[in-house]
């Protein structure tokens, strides 16, 4: 091999950098996040495993249904009816974004932009109407 003295060390440095995420935390993936589930509610729109996998798709479907197709048929969760939507359904039970939504999103390094527009109950209360 030509330039063995440069290439082999270079490759080693490259491999070190590329595998950085694996070994930096001692080969552990960190603690699996435990999101705070809402008190008193056992049911969600769909079973937990399905929601974990598909809640993004479900929210997109709701968004298109409500905004674009004028399909505002309510969803039933645990006997109560909710309007389809992040603020009007999900966050009625999952009221704390930091303790529920963020635990998994931060762990997975995902940054959904939902809350740029959609209000969490905490944010909404910060500028509530005072009578």
């Amino acid at each position: 091999m030509y330039n063995k003295g440069t290439i082999i060390p270079g490759l080693m440095i490259f491999i070190v950098f590329v595998t950085f995420p694996l070994w930096y935390n001692g080969l552990s993936a960190g603690t699996v996040p435990k999101p705070d589930l809402p008190i008193g509610q056992k049911e969600c729109v769909a079973p937990a495993s399905e929601m974990r996998d598909n809640h993004m798709k479900l929210l997109n479907q709701w968004r298109d249904a409500v905004l674009r197709d004028d399909d505002r048929v309510n969803v039933k969760v645990g006997g109560k009816e909710y309007r389809k939507g992040l603020q009007t359904a999900c966050m009625q039970c999952h009221t704390d974004k930091e303790k529920f939504c963020d635990t998994c999103h931060t762990y997975a390094a995902v940054q959904p932009s939902c809350w740029d527009c959609h209000l969490t109950p905490a944010v909404a209360a910060s500028k509530k109407e005072t009578h």
Binding site: D70, R83, L119, A124, K127, E129
Partner: protein, 270 residues
């Protein structure tokens, strides 16, 4: 490379390209058909109105009633702003977000301008909002269908999730009904309505005829305030027995810039 192998590679490459491109072409042509379905409305003989189908929401604004109670219009505007988390940019023509607002007659109807106007037309502030046109030029312009005509009710909807902020719709609107979020609006919102989202920077917004309230059986926020004085009537323009049609049959109404061909749904009694 011998010619047979070269020829084979050429054919294989072309077939691969066709295979990759085919789904895209199918998607493009199918969505084009859908777009024309959504936007298409009754084709009428020249000058006539064809038999209308479906619900077509519209509004009659009786300026005579607003002129009698000037604070009513301010209340209607405030109701809309509260319900929809509309930010408040005082005296800021650059950043202001307006869904419904007031302007003098001369500005609302510049093509109906005349030298000798009635007292009311000279003095009273007129209500201005998106006209939810039947043939909207903003929908024609939007490159992503972020703004679209809802076929179920004739509302010109705005999908803030899809808007890329190109502002072509703002250039296209003949009525100046659209606003853009030049920055994050949240610091400028006075109180939050927890039932409705805010918007983020970089998207266009406008009156949405309170689709979310209509779904709950309520009337639009502005209409709810103005209804008591009879200053606003809201309903289905396609239903000959609706209150709004009765008002339109009885009173002479004008519309903003009818020559633009956009067929607005908002009528004014002056």
């Amino acid at each position: 490379m011998d010619t047979k192998r070269r020829k084979f590679l050429k054919i294989a490459g072309a077939a691969a390209l066709a295979g990759i491109g085919a789904p895209a072409i199918v998607k493009l042509t199918s969505s084009a058909a859908l777009a024309s379905e959504a936007v298409q409305h009754e084709t009428a003989a020249h000058g006539e109105v064809a038999a209308a189908t479906g619900v077509r929401l519209g509004m009659v604004i009786d300026m005579r009633k607003f002129a009698e109670q000037p604070e009513l219009l301010d209340q209607a505007i405030a109701a809309c702003n509260k319900v929809h988390n509309i930010p408040h940019f005082p005296n800021d023509r650059k950043n202001e977000i307006k869904w419904i607002w007031k302007a003098p007659y001369a500005n609302v109807f510049p093509e109906l301008e005349s030298i000798h106007k009635s007292e009311m037309a000279k003095k009273a502030p007129f209500a201005v909002l998106c006209n939810h046109c039947d043939n909207p030029s903003c929908v024609k312009a939007c490159p992503t269908k972020a703004t679209f005509v809802q076929p179920e009710n004739g509302i010109v909807g705005m999908d803030f999730h899809r808007c890329i902020g190109c502002r072509f719709c703002m250039a296209a609107c003949p009525y100046g009904a659209r606003s853009f979020n030049w920055q994050d609006p949240r610091p400028f919102i006075d109180t939050y309505n927890a039932e409705f989202p805010t918007r983020m920077r970089g998207v266009v917004e406008k009156c949405n005829f309170c689709g979310e309230r209509l779904a709950l059986g309520l009337e639009p926020a502005c209409v709810e305030v103005a209804k008591s004085a009879g200053a606003m009537v809201f309903g289905d323009l396609n239903d000959p027995d609706s209150e709004i049609r009765k008002v339109l049959d009885k009173e002479f109404t004008i519309q903003r810039n009818p020559a633009a061909g956009t067929k607005p749904s908002v009528y004014y009694i002056v």
